[in-house]
Amino acid sequence: MLNLYFNQFKRSLAIMRKDILIYYLKGPVIIFGILIPLFLFLAFLTGSKNLSTDFLISGLIGMTMLFTATSVSPVITPWESQMNTLERLMTYPISIYTLILGDILASVIFGTLITLVPVIIGLAIGVNIIHPLILITGIILASICFSALGLLLATPPTNAPSNVMMISSLVKFPLVFISGIFIPLEIMPFWGKAVASFSPLTYFTDLTRYSLGNGSYYPIILDFTVIVVFTIIFFALAVKIHKKTLPMRI
């Protein structure tokens, strides 16, 4: 049994390599992964003079993570279907878990590496990382969580990547505004805090702020736990729904 899991994991790595070569190592994908959150950040920066650089950088890290880890993963399956490569992929001796895990691993690598860009920007402008281990662990866990979210967003059985991009944007942009990126959780009204608590980005932003020396709103252990719980839910739902919708794509 262990051998079976190991073999399937090796095949997930093959899926990951394929995704990186075909979908991620493209200039526009990398540039847009950095530019979109950066533009959002700059737009916000010009309108808010009272917030500290630490607060703003942690928001930029959160946004970059969300946008990069969910940038390509939702469109891989519709793309594969449109390019007539999905059916053959489904004939290989790989389980749906293997397929999704491979897609997630590629997205995790991309999300993690691109998120290091705002971290480096922060360090360059004098932001101190007080708890680097917590930040690194948080970045890795959040990249897994948002990549799984990306795979969940890929489940509608459409073969048009543009449709999935639209659904994806409808989910991602509201998440940015409810997750304490632009407005600290402390000064949100009760209903705002209640809504924020349903977003995994809230907990990642919270632990990033803690790592950069600002206080956290929630206990750090709670931030980690909730991110892990969201990851499990997103992954389980993605597997369950893909099992149903994958055959509908061919």
Partner: protein
Amino acid sequence: MGYVVEVHNLTKGYKEIKSVDGVNFKVKKGEIFGFLGPNGAGKTTTVRMLTGIIKPDSGKAYILGYNIQKEPLKAKEHLGVVPETSNAYVDLSAWQNLILTADLYGVPKKDAEKRADDLLKEFDLYERKNDKVKGFSKGMKQRLILAMALINDPQLLFLDEPTSGLDVQSSILIRQMLLQLREKGKTILLTTHNLEEANKLCERIAIINKGKIAAIDTPENLKKMIKKLNTIEITFDGFIDVQELSDFPEIQEIRKTGDKFILNTDNVNNLISAVTEYAKSKDIKIVALNTLTPSLEEVFIELTRRG
């Protein structure tokens, strides 16, 4: 008798329509089994169920002894599949596509590289191994897809329209490869619209129509299923009175086209003897005598029309 494919009452419907309706057949080890049918007959749906892509509504299928619904991964390990609508990754090279496929089958790296090299040579793609597939012609892409299906040295191959729309050279190469694979003991389930291809390659053929199997047999036996087999075409070097010929008890129907007589009978052997005797008695030579065999196309049209 070792069967590598056993299909029992396989049924699949979409909404109210049954696209595959209680299909049963078996494929022997080492044979090329043809799967013929008009568009929408249920061929591709059947192949998709047999390759574990979609699940049947009812019925069972055993692939190499494994229940494809319950043990899909074990069965798929030994399969090679060329789906009806499939493509290689156009942003990868031929070599990268082959190695990726080998990785997904769990082929060890050294074996994979050797097999990839051999297959690229066999399919006449070696010179282009490092080129991206997006620059390949349709024939080259299809040869690569077939090479990808062979990278794990499968025992059983499912080929859905492998030569459809290809140039003559690629079609011939692929057909030669299929015959070589049969010689190596591989079993092939071939879905095709090309009746001549099925006639030349397949030991047995299943004709599917409206989701049901209309007939399964060897190409020659299928041809016997329609009346035309009992027809001979004969040409003499002298004048023959049609009236005299039509008096032969063996002849059921007689037609004359040009210098040929087309004779319908229920006993070809007796008719040939009688006509030969008749020609001798009249001191007339027989210039040509052919038993007319129906083409597989005629069998196909007849069987699918009945359905």
